[in-house]
């Protein structure tokens, strides 16, 4: 083992009963090596379950793995097992220093996706992660490739695990029985050096006990069953169905005090970590076979009891799986009603999905929560219309007490899709008696309604709703609800221009979300912080940082839309800054994405693309990109600024009437804004720039003077832009000093992360400006 562990991957390959697990466990204990252990079982035969199992094994070492497992598991269909493993390894296994034991991997053999997943995980993890794989046949992994790449030393095989005849003699001698050499050789021949066979022979002190391996396993199981009372036998099957258990689990099954002793004495189980136990796989398989042979009623009762104990232990996916196995759809549906949404929030989409698939439509119709789960799953898969159909049916059939959860889930979907009818749905819900029963539900409802009002430009209603939500926050128990309410209130505050409140609420939301690994809410809170940094504080460093973290959180949440948001806005920042190396990298990312022209893309990406086009002198193209959607920006600030950008590009492209129209439209919006809003100031500065290019020197001077006054209390960045436009006006008037002054101002823009704007101004043509100015004079 010492020499095997010198390589990144150690393989222990032998048939069942050779003590692979024991060898690894004893070795790691002897050498006091900290490690992560994952024991595969039949429940891990699908890659998504395998991923979740491994994530769960990492427990405290990498708690984020478990939280992101759900999101990652949704990606198998899109990028395949290798793709998921690579992304996951890069996310979680690039800075870990530990030994990972993957035991009983033969359970995964039937599914190539599982072995692909493990292979890619191993190959992509950091060299500081050492892997020990215990399996029955190494052919499932690319051992020749690993050998060639020095990833693995030669596997430890059965020949090295076999008990030799002299060891057999010594073991019997230690127990007080002297074997002849012939007897030792006979036992060796019968067991093929099989340690478990030897153990049993030692215990029975009867060489004839050992015949075939299968017989030995059967005898051990039968002996254990014989020692049990009828009730204990059922407990044996119930614990075997659960595969692993602890004392609390035994208590939930009402096992008597001797039950655990029987299991230990019979050597059916082994201690996992001092607190919990697991069945040796060969014994568990045999117990399962015997369980399947029981009469249907008893069989179902055992599975139901085991499922109930699993439910109490919070092992919902396994509870669901056993309940499905028990075959009573009503019980499955009832279990889904109780734990389905919690399981889903924990990312157990596979287990919930399989449980739902086991239910016929007539059963689903009787269980609105199950219908809602079906809808939520469809929504996770971005099948929003399917989700909507299921949600509507669920809400129509909902009973008092379950309606609120369904409405909230549906409402969240509708808000994200920008559907105005969500307001009617949520407002109606606030008047329902049920809404006053539960602080969690009520706070969640008001907060969601607040965000819906924002989308419909009903700021006052939004603030009122957010205030209702925050007032209920002290009574909220669920930390996830708390985090979401804080984020939604932050979003409302941001829309209201209350940046201090927005920042404070978003920071609180982020802290709560981070604590419970609620990545999606964390990402949304970071989007608020990004907006505060960018719009209010003009702090590009903070904005970049927020976007970087947002993208990471979006990836962990498996939410492509959030990742796109981060990338688009980061692209916009870097184009503004003229940061070519960052743009090079982001060009590659954008080239791989399919980007639809949503409002977010229109607001973030199009102006960046237009500015980028302007560097090449493609002003008309820049104009064409921005002008058609200018009126569709989210609010007056953005509309004003967009028209001002359009005016600059139009003027530079020689589209004088269009540029003048854009100036007028921008002015119209600016007039309705707080003059000191950073976007209003930027818009006014751009108007001045456009006017200067059109030869309207006097108008340009008035505009830039207004911008200068408004920018006085603002951040350096905005002031630099205004000063540059002033320098540009002087530059147009001529004089070498003005050229030097403009050059200095362009440098100042670069220092303020506006190098991209400096490039735009540098790229403005001299000729049309001179010609237009001449005509104007």
């Amino acid at each position: 083992m010492d020499s095997a562990l010198a390589a990144p991957v150690s393989l222990v390959v032998a048939d069942e009963g050779y003590g692979k697990s024991t060898l690894i466990r004893d070795y790691l204990a002897l050498r006091k090596i900290a490690h992560v252990r994952f024991t595969a079982g039949p429940e891990h035969a699908l890659p998504s379950d395998l991923l979740r199992g491994i994530a769960s094994a990492f427990g405290d070492i990498r708690p984020a793995m478990a939280r992101s497992a759900a999101a990652a598991s949704l990606k198998f269909g899109q990028i395949g097992a290798k793709g998921v493993a690579r992304a996951w390894a890069r996310e979680h296994l690039c800075d870990v220093d530990t030994v990972v034991v993957l035991d009983d991997l033969h359970h995964l053999m039937a599914n190539a996706q599982c072995t692909d997943f493990i292979t890619a995980l191993i190959e992509e993890s950091a060299p500081s992660v050492r892997w020990i794989l215990a399996l029955r046949d190494a052919a499932m992994f690319p051992v020749p490739r690993w050998l060639a790449r020095d990833l693995v030393a030669l596997p430890i095989e059965a020949s090295e695990l076999r008990v030799q005849p002299q060891e057999i003699s010594a073991a019997f001698a230690a127990g007080g029985t002297l074997l002849t050499a012939a007897q030792a050789q006979l036992l060796y021949a019968r067991t093929d050096g099989w340690p478990l066979g030897l153990t049993i022979a030692l215990r029975s002190n009867d060489l004839d006990t050992i015949t075939t391996r299968a017989r030995v396993y059967d005898r051990v199981v039968d002996a254990a069953l014989l020692r049990c009372s009828d009730a204990q036998r059922d407990r044996l099957f119930e614990t075997a169905a659960a595969a692993r258990f602890d004392k609390a689990f035994l208590a939930a099954l009402e096992c008597d005090a001797h039950f655990l002793e029987i299991l230990v004495d019979s050597e059916l189980i082994y201690a996992l970590d001092g607190k919990s136990y697991a069945y040796f796989e060969p014994f568990r398989e045999r117990l399962e076979l015997r369980l399947e042979a029981l009469p249907l009623k008893r069989h179902r009762r055992i599975l139901d009891r085991s499922a109930a104990a699993l439910e109490r232990a919070g092992r919902w996916p396994e509870a669901l799986a056993l309940s499905v196995r028990a075959g009573d759809p009503q019980r499955v549906a009832a279990l889904l009603d109780r734990v389905g949404f919690r399981a889903l929030d924990r990312g157990e989409t596979g287990a919930v999905g399989r449980a739902l698939e086991s239910l016929a439509e007539d059963v689903l119709m009787q269980h609105p929560t199950a219908l809602g789960l079906k809808a939520a799953l469809a929504s996770i898969d971005e099948g929003y219309d399917v989700a909507e159909a299921w949600f509507n049916m669920a809400i129509q059939n909902a009973r008092d007490g379950e309606r609120r959860t369904l409405v909230l889930r549906y409402g969240l979907d509708l808000v994200r899709r920008g559907r105005p009818d969500v307001i009617e749905l949520l407002e109606a819900e606030t008047t329902r008696v049920e809404s006053r029963a539960n602080a969690d539900g009520e706070a969640a409802l008001w907060a969601l309604l607040g965000t819906a009002y924002v989308a419909e430009r009903r700021g006052e209603n939004a603030r009122e709703a957010a205030s209702h939500a925050l007032a209920r926050l002290p009574g909220v128990h669920d930390p996830a609800v708390r985090a979401r309410v804080l984020h939604q209130a932050a979003y409302v505050a941001l829309d209201a221009g209350d940046y201090a409140a927005a920042k404070s609420l978003a920071e609180r939301a982020l802290a709560r979300a981070d604590e419970i690994f609620l990545y999606e809410v964390a990402a949304r809170a970071l989007s608020v912080l990004f907006n505060v940094a960018m719009l209010h504080e003009e702090n590009v460093a903070d904005a970049r940082d927020a976007l970087l973290r947002l993208e990471q959180a979006g990836r962990k949440a498996g939410n492509d839309a959030l990742c796109l948001y981060a990338i688009v806005n980061a692209y916009s920042i870097e184009v503004d800054a003229g940061n070519l190396s960052a743009l090079q990298r982001m060009n590659r990312e954008l080239a791989e994405m399919q980007v639809l022209l949503t409002r977010m893309v229109s607001e973030g990406l199009l102006p960046a693309q237009a500015l980028r086009a302007a560097w090449d002198g493609r002003f008309e193209h820049a104009y064409d990109m921005l002008a058609p959607g200018a009126e569709k920006m989210f609010d007056d600030d953005r509309i004003a600024y967009r028209w001002a950008e359009v005016a600059v590009y139009g003027a530079a492209a020689g589209k004088e009437p269009e540029a003048r129209k854009a100036i007028a439209l921008s002015r119209e919006r600016v007039a309705g804004l707080d003059a000191c809003h950073p976007l209003a100031v930027r818009a006014t500065a751009y108007i001045a720039l456009a006017e200067a290019m059109l030869g309207d020197d006097r108008a340009a001077a008035v505009s830039v003077a207004a911008a200068r006054t408004s920018a006085a209390g603002l951040h350096r960045r905005v002031q630099s832009l205004v000063a540059t436009v002033e320098a540009f006006l002087a530059f147009r008037a001529g004089g070498l000093e003005s050229v030097v002054a403009l050059a200095a101002q362009l440098d100042d823009l670069r220092r303020n992360d506006l190098g991209g704007v400096a490039l735009l101004i540098g790229r403005l043509p001299l000729q049309p400006i001179a010609a237009t100015a001449l005509a104007a004079s």
């Binding site: 598991s73 949704l74 198998f76 269909g77 899109q78 989409t349 596979g350 439509e361 469809a378 898969d381 971005e382 099948g383 929003y384 219309d385 399917v386 909507e388 159909a389 299921w390 559907r419 003229g578 070519l580 743009l583 090079q584 060009n587 954008l590 080239a591 994405m593 399919q594 980007v595 639809l596 022209l597 893309v601 229109s602 990406l605 199009l606 693309q609 980028r612 560097w615 090449d616 002198g617 064409d624 990109m625 058609p628 959607g629 569709k632 540009f728 070498l736 050229v739 030097v740 403009l742 050059a743 362009l746 490039l759 101004i761 540098g762 790229r763 403005l764 043509p765 001299l766 000729q767």
Partner: protein, 324 residues
């Protein structure tokens, strides 16, 4: 020719020469701008020329021309993304040289020759960082489609919403069918505007809170041809005519407007047809509640090989029912 400067070129004092270069900078600037291609006659070029003339003056005074070459390299880093910096500096250099009317093989002429060589070799070097690869994740086609969709939004919000959903289904279907990225993008866009002809349909028919009568159906059916005409009229998106025109063809030839059959129906249209039908069944309609997705799939299966391309129906079943 800048006569005052020509005289200075023969002056004995380097400082005087430098001062005269500066004094004649406006004329040199104009001469250099006149040498430039139209593309490079920009604000940045004017700045660069003025700065170059100033550096020349410093070099004239000090005799150190490495300083000017180094400055040119730094300027290139700053402005190479927007103009041909070496063309601009070259034009400035030649304008100064012209003005000075340098004697062949004079020390100043040799210095200029050396700067020319430095500029040529710097211009030939690849730049360490360049954002030259311009990726436009959203292009003019998207913008035109968005404008059309805005028109549809104004005609009937539900139809526009349906179109966005169909685009999403088309994208997923295309992925499931293993199409190339360009085809996925094409289909997604086709889904967005497949019903664009409905902007020509009277709103009363589009939003009728009931099933349409026969006469209204005839009018409604015109949207496929009307859409094709709209799309055909915009050269940038004319290649979307097939899916827009033929998304109501039936696989067995019983559809409209061209009664095309089987593979004669463009593949994009066959895909849009399935996405459209499925989403129409499960989507909101003024005259009926949405159908359960499982029932909608059953309807697709009933129309497999008669109304719909069987391969696309199978793909749709996978898309709707399979989870990763």
């Amino acid at each position: 020719m800048i006569s005052g400067l020509r005289a200075s070129a023969h002056a004995t004092s380097l400082n005087t020469l430098a001062r005269d270069v500066r004094d004649h900078a406006p004329q040199i600037l104009e001469a250099a701008l006149a040498r430039l291609s139209v593309r490079n006659r920009t604000v940045a070029a004017r700045i660069l020329i003025v700065q170059f003339v100033d550096r020349c003056a410093v070099s004239c005074a000090s005799g150190n021309w490495d300083f000017t070459s180094a400055w040119a390299a730094a300027a290139a880093d700053r402005y190479a993304e927007i103009i041909d910096v070496y063309e601009v500096i070259g034009a400035a250099l030649e304008s100064v040289a012209d003005a000075l009317a340098l004697s062949v093989d004079s020390p100043l002429d040799r210095a200029f020759t050396s700067v020319r060589a430095d500029l040529a070799s710097a211009a030939a070097r690849p730049r360490a960082v360049s954002g030259a690869t311009v990726v436009e994740a959203v292009d003019e086609i998207d913008i035109v489609l968005d404008s059309l969709l805005t028109q549809l939004d104004q005609s009937d919000v539900l139809t526009a919403e349906h179109s966005r959903a169909v685009a999403s289904w088309c994208s997923r279907l295309a992925k499931r069918l293993g199409l190339e990225k360009a085809e996925i993008v094409h289909l997604t866009r086709a889904g967005l505007i497949h019903d664009i002809g409905k902007v020509m349909t009277p709103t009363a028919i589009l939003t009728a809170p009931r099933r349409l009568d026969e006469e209204e159906f005839v009018i409604m059916r015109r949207h496929a041809e009307a859409g094709a005409e709209i799309v055909h009229g915009v050269p940038l998106i004319a290649h979307f005519v097939p899916p827009v025109r033929n998304h109501h063809e039936r696989f067995d030839g019983g559809g409209y407007p061209d009664r095309l059959k089987w593979e004669a129906i463009p593949r994009a249209a066959r895909i849009v047809a399935v996405a459209d039908a499925f989403n129409a069944m499960i989507g909101r309609r003024p005259y009926r509640p949405p159908m359960a997705p499982s029932l909608a799939l059953e309807q697709l299966v009933l129309g497999r090989s008669t109304q719909f391309d069987p391969d696309v129906v199978d793909a749709m079943i996978d898309v709707v029912t399979c989870r990763g």
